[in-house]
């Protein structure tokens, strides 16, 4: 058997560690019951289709896309915060020039969305959507206001912890990730089925941002740091891990 790697196979992205990802069916989050597939996912080996993915240029971004407090004529109501961090892969390498999209409720816990019927005020100076691209070291930074908690109808007296939605592409179809960032010390985290759907306790904690004195701006805004880890690449195609037969 040849010891040379087959040139026709590609190195894929390692699967997520056990327990770090939520089960698709998690009945405490009621909407999963009729939406989660009942068959197991079919495992695909990596091909060019999975190790490539959409590439976006900085041309898709506008000047204030990363500053959610400067997208309207006036200042939004609420506590200004800076949310920043690094996007790394599981090998510890920065994920550079990748698109990061965020969306969140306003300070009162209300989204400007037709399906949000919560009777908290909307804010004409806050849409709650932002995007940016990571730099050459994988860093990103948003300026926004601290989102409010809000009720939902999943169970009696259900409230979502304060959160910011994040959407990332990474370098490949296999590295796509949508997640939510939470805030330290939020008493609602223990009651939230989206958080508790994650089996691994350490993985849950990593969705909670940390207060960051370094990025806190004097007289202006508290800083929170939220690092994001995307799947890392195998060093070699999987075929090479198969034991050679004599």
């Amino acid at each position: 058997m040849s010891t040379k790697p087959a040139t026709t196979s590609v190195a894929g992205y390692r699967r997520n560690d056990r327990g770090t990802q939520p089960d698709l069916l998690y009945p405490p989050y009621a909407s999963t019951v009729k939406r989660a597939p009942s068959h197991p996912l079919v495992l695909l080996p990596a091909s060019l289709s999975e190790v490539t993915g959409p590439v976006f240029g900085f041309d898709v971004l506008k000047a204030n896309d990363h500053d959610l407090t400067k997208q309207h004529a006036g200042d939004p109501i609420g506590e200004r915060i800076v949310v920043s961090g690094r996007v790394l892969d599981a090998n510890g390498r920065p994920v550079i020039n990748t698109l990061v999209e965020v969306w969140q409720a306003n300070a009162a816990g209300r989204y400007p969305h037709q399906r949000d019927q919560h009777n908290a005020p909307t804010d004409p100076n806050f849409t709650g959507a932002g995007r940016t691209q990571t730099d050459s070291e994988g860093r990103y930074r948003f300026v926004t206001i601290r989102p409010g908690e809000y009720p939902w109808r999943n169970h009696y007296n259900a409230w979502r912890p304060a959160h910011i939605h994040f959407s990332l592409f990474g370098p490949a179809f296999s590295t796509r990730l949508v997640t939510q960032m939470y805030f330290p010390g939020d008493p609602l985290l223990d009651y939230d089925p989206m958080v508790t759907s994650i089996p691994d306790e350490r993985a849950r904690r990593r969705l909670v941002s940390v207060f960051d004195w370094e990025t806190t701006i004097p007289e202006q805004a508290l800083g929170y740091r939220f690092d994001i880890i995307l799947r890392g690449r195998d060093e070699t195609p999987m075929e090479n891990y198969l034991p050679a037969r004599s």
């Binding site: 939406r35 597939p37 009942s38 996912l41 495992l43 060019l48 932002g130 959407s167 949508v178």
Partner: protein, 189 residues
């Protein structure tokens, strides 16, 4: 060094606020060659009810079978203006619709050329991690030897094929059933 990957969380019901700025339901345009097709479909849940708050993304090669990505270095033409990415929400009837071109073939497992396919990612409230699937084309002779289709149980393979719409040349329908009878095949990529 190995870091643990960040957990996925649902997009929730208000995804449109953050994600519709990049809606691209028409991948065709000047200078983009290939057979123009439309692909539409309805996403339904385990009760057969349409899912009206989903978002569908597609990723595909161009007509020559080349991905607009630095890792696809094969000597095939790239076309300026064809990024290969589409994003569309479902409407009040649970329907999404893309206009695109039929992709060419790209290499797969063992160096075998894969049949033309569109890679699909689906997000919605009630889905704690996104779903991945593929759209294949009906009556394409390459389907018979496709290494991915070969991994799917024969009685479920048909869920991956778009179907022609009678009386509408170049129009295809690919419905997504999340759960239950005729459940669509989803992949761990």
């Amino acid at each position: 060094m190995s870091l643990q990957t960040t957990s996925s969380q649902t997009v929730g019901p208000y995804l449109h606020i953050g994600l519709t700025w990049l809606i691209n339901a028409d991948l065709t345009g000047p200078g983009i060659t290939g057979d123009t097709i439309t692909i539409e479909g309805c996403i339904t849940d385990g009760d057969g009810k349409p899912v009206t708050d989903a978002l569908v993304e597609i990723w595909q090669a161009n007509a020559a079978g080349r991905y607009a990505h630095p890792e696809d270095t094969r000597n095939l033409p790239l076309e300026a203006g064809f990024r290969g990415f589409g994003r569309a929400p479902t409407d009040e009837a649970g329907m999404f619709r893309f206009t695109t071109i039929k992709p060419g073939r790209v290499p797969g497992e063992g160096g075998v050329l894969q049949a033309p396919h569109v890679n699909v990612t689906i997000f919605m409230r009630g889905m704690l991690a996104h779903l991945c699937s593929r759209i294949y084309f009906p009556d394409d002779p390459a389907n018979a030897a496709d290494p991915v289709l070969a991994r799917v149980a024969a009685d479920r393979r048909s869920t991956l094929f778009a179907q022609p719409i009678a009386g509408q040349p170049s129009a295809l329908v690919w419905n997504v059933r999340l759960q239950g009878a005729g459940e669509t095949v989803f992949f761990d990529v």
